[in-house]
Amino acid sequence: MTTTALMFLAVITVIMAVVVWWLVRQTLDVKPWVEQRPLANDRGGDGFSLPPVKVGLGVFLAVATSLFVLSISAYLMRMEGADWRPLTQPMVLWFNTAMLVFGSVFFQRARNAAKSGQIDGVRLGLFAGGVCTLVFLAGQLLAWQQLNTAGHFLATNPANAFFYLLTALHGLHLLGGLWVWAKTAVKLQRGAAVHEVRLSVELCTVYWHFLLVVWLVLFGLLLFT
């Protein structure tokens, strides 16, 4: 319990340090009551003039990070209970992990193609990335089914309950991503030009990388505990 809480406090401290560092960069030390000079240049060029939706995604990723960090801390705290029986992970999870990695790689390729304006590359990357993700989700369902057949039900043990909960949370986030992916894909099918989908592709890519990292952390956690 104590180590978990200490880890948790460390995570919070890091987040706070980032927030304060950012605020200091935002000319928080100016004197607004005397300063009437142009202030913008102090910010160091146009580094922050991102499209709002990118910043919005960043904020959402922060919320999702909080959600997963909290779930993981709950996992670690609950793990200390006497009734905890570690779960043998189904082998299919390795395959799924590979699929998700491929998904991320394909999204990255789509993004690169979008940057250099190659519509075919975007189409291919997006399509392959989406398929990999769908296979990943199907694989996760298969893992659930295998566990169920082996008698590892949700309520049998807290380790099982956490397994189902964490994979479900992660899967739902991917589903949300797939919704944006589907919208982008439909746009492409209807003959949208590269520049019209560039932002969506970029956002999807960032989101997929994020969810890959989350999955690697979750998978590592499930393997090593």
Binding site: M1, T2, A5, L9, I12, I15, M16, V19, V20, L23, Q26, T27, L28, D29, V30, K31, P32, W33, V34, Q36, R37, P38, L39, A40, N41, F48, S49, L50, P51, P52, V53, V55, G56, V59, F60, A62, V63, S66, L67, L70, S71, A74, M77, R78, G81, A82, D83, W84, L154, A155, P158, A161, F162, L165
Partner: protein, 593 residues
């Protein structure tokens, strides 16, 4: 350094992003129901929040009736009583205060104050309101299901929250947990807007350090909410699973009504950690917007710049950061490691430092100000009083050795009502009196307002001062009746009766306020565009109330901070933020350095 001549526009840095395109609906429904205009959404949020808040107010009357005059009301039984306690608490904290400060004031004020046409994601913003409304309806539905709403206490501690025997353990608890989860989803949609709008949609010249403190308070509170609500979300999901599918996240092995249940090994303390990891920041999610708003009310009505603006901003940020490392001070009696208690007591006391700085700065802003004692100012000063009192008892309770004997007594109830109920409500009221003219174009009635203030302010003290004393005597909270308890003297009963009468009077006066809101909408004195002679952008709009798009053809350009009051040498005693430097603002010409 040589002085280079500038033209006025030099003093305004460029905007973060260009003009935004707005969706302009044609129909009534598009304008006022499925509206994407932040101002309409704000009013929808406010009306819904105040509506559900009135339900919670009535619940508090019923509780007080029972406590003041036990055995007189046959329709209140112990189960009802616990249900009232629970619903009152949860509604007031989450569905009224959080929704009103962030969804209501946040939506109305952020775009207007930073000089934006609207929130950056208007569609998501609209969804946010409708999801919130859905969560409120779920909550209301729990009053009508078999077994009624949950009576688990607003903290919903397991295992009792989901065991048979607790009122509302059949349907009420599930509806409550689902309503909370839905609320959080809706809030996240809103929160995205509040944060990104402040970051990205500020107009030309509106640097972060020129933002009014109201925006700072709402901005940091939104960040807190986005990081803290996931804790409540996870715990709600986990408890739903414990209840419906029989997992044991929180449920220990337990014998209930003579039967061994299937649960085993779960940790109720885990729930407490998760709940309070959300629950403590929640205090500041409500308090920080209040801090910000009250700073502006005081500065406007004292006709002075806010004292220590930078310190105020830093204090808001510091309080926000610290609020994440104090949660376990709600759990001193949970059997935690004493070193933990030590750590959390220290952090709790540290948080008093930035908070006290803010109080000093408010008082110093008043010092030698040209004070206008209008209704918003009265409420602002009332806030300073009630907040200091509530804050001081917080320092008592932050210490483990004092907190342990006072835990679960009425002292705690008195403390958190002073600091978290009365103080923010003072700000809510002050803010409504302050911004109502902008929302409607009419002033609220002044005499009714003053009557409302004095009865509310004095009445709050009549309610909560004796409650501290009752708590000292050891009277426990959440009890339906005292029975024959040897350490509770007879006089407690008379005090309880007096508190109840005061509570009923304060409650009725809120109805006068509601009457004032409605009456003034039709008959109030026209306000003009800037009745308080304030500097911030929302008072400089072309129309009052502002139309969709807020600022007419051109967005305002900001040349100065929000607190240029009583500037020596200036024509008037206030210089709006969008007035360029020139002869009328001689006192503030840039000086060579």
């Amino acid at each position: 350094m040589s002085y280079v001549a500038h033209d006025a526009s030099d003093y305004a840095p460029p905007a973060e992003v260009g003009e935004m395109e707005l969706y302009h609906p044609k129909t009534f429904i598009g304008k006022y129901i499925w509206s994407q205009d932040a101002k309409v959404i704000a009013i929808q949020y406010s009306i819904t929040a105040i509506g559900i808040g009135l339900v919670a107010l009535v619940l508090s009357w019923l509780m007080r009736l029972q406590l003041g005059f036990p055995n007189s009301f046959s329709f209140i039984d112990p189960s009802n009583y616990l249900q009232m306690v629970t619903m009152h608490g949860m509604i007031m904290v989450i569905f009224l205060l959080t929704a009103l400060f962030l969804g209501g004031f946040g939506n109305y004020l952020i775009p207007l104050m930073v000089g934006a046409r609207d929130m950056v994601f208007p569609y998501v913003n609209m969804l946010s309101y409708w999801v919130y409304l859905f969560s409120v309806l779920l909550l209301i539905a729990s009053f009508f299901v078999p077994g009624g709403p949950t009576g688990a206490g607003w903290t919903l501690y397991p295992p009792q929250a989901i065991l048979p025997g607790t009122p509302g353990a059949t349907w009420g608890i599930i509806l409550m947990l689902v309503a909370l989860a839905v609320f959080i989803v809706g809030f996240t949609m809103g929160g995205l807007n509040y944060i990104v709008t402040v970051l990205q949609a500020r107009t030309r010249g509106m640097t972060l350090m020129r933002m009014p403190l109201t925006v700072w308070g709402i901005f940091i509170a939104s960040i807190l909410a986005m990081l803290a609500f996931p804790a409540l979300f996870v715990s709600a999901i986990m408890m739903i699973l414990d209840y419906t599918l029989g997992t044991s996240f929180f449920m220990p092995g337990i014998v209930s009504m003579g039967q061994q249940l299937d649960y085993g090994g779960g940790s109720p303390v885990l729930f407490q950690h998760l709940f309070w990891f959300f629950g403590h920041p929640e205090v500041y999610i409500v308090a920080l917007p209040a801090f910000g708003i009250v700073s502006d009310l005081i500065s406007v009505n004292a006709r002075r710049h806010i004292f220590g603006y930078r310190m105020m901003v830093w204090a808001i940020v510091a309080i926000g950061g610290l609020s994440f490392v104090v949660w376990a001070h709600h759990m001193y009696v949970s059997g935690m490691n004493p070193y933990f208690g030590f750590f959390f007591a220290i952090t709790t006391l540290i948080i008093a430092v930035p908070t006290a700085l803010k109080v000093y700065n408010w008082v110093l802003t008043l010092w030698r100000g040209n004070i206008r004692l209008n209704v918003p100012m009265l409420f602002a000063i009332g806030f300073i009083f009630t907040f200091i009192h509530g804050g001081l008892t917080g320092i008592f309770l932050g210490n483990v050795s004092v907190s342990v004997p006072l835990s679960d007594t009425m002292f705690v109830v008195a403390h958190f009502h002073m600091v978290m109920a009365v103080a923010p409500i003072m700000v809510v009221m002050g803010a409504i009196y302050h911004w109502y003219p902008k929302m409607t174009g009419r002033m609220l009635n002044d005499s009714l307002g003053k009557f409302h203030f004095w009865v509310t302010f004095l009445g709050s003290y009549a309610i909560y001062l004796p409650m501290h004393y009752i708590g000292f005597l050891g009277v426990p909270r959440r009890y339906y009746a005292m029975g024959n308890t040897y350490f509770v003297p007879e006089s407690v009963q008379s005090l309880n009766a007096a508190i109840t009468i005061a509570a009923l009077i304060v409650g009725v006066v809120q109805l006068v306020f509601l009457y004032n809101l409605v009456w003034s909408y039709f008959k109030g004195k026209p306000s003009g565009s800037n009745p308080w002679e304030a500097t911030t952008l929302e008072w400089q709009t072309a129309d009052t109330p502002p139309k969709h798009g807020n600022f007419g053809k051109e967005l305002p350009v900001v040349y100065r901070w929000a607190y240029d009051y009583s500037v020596p040498g200036a024509d008037k005693d206030f210089i709006p933020q969008n007035v360029p430097p020139g002869p009328t603002t001689a006192g503030l010409e840039p000086t060579q350095s």
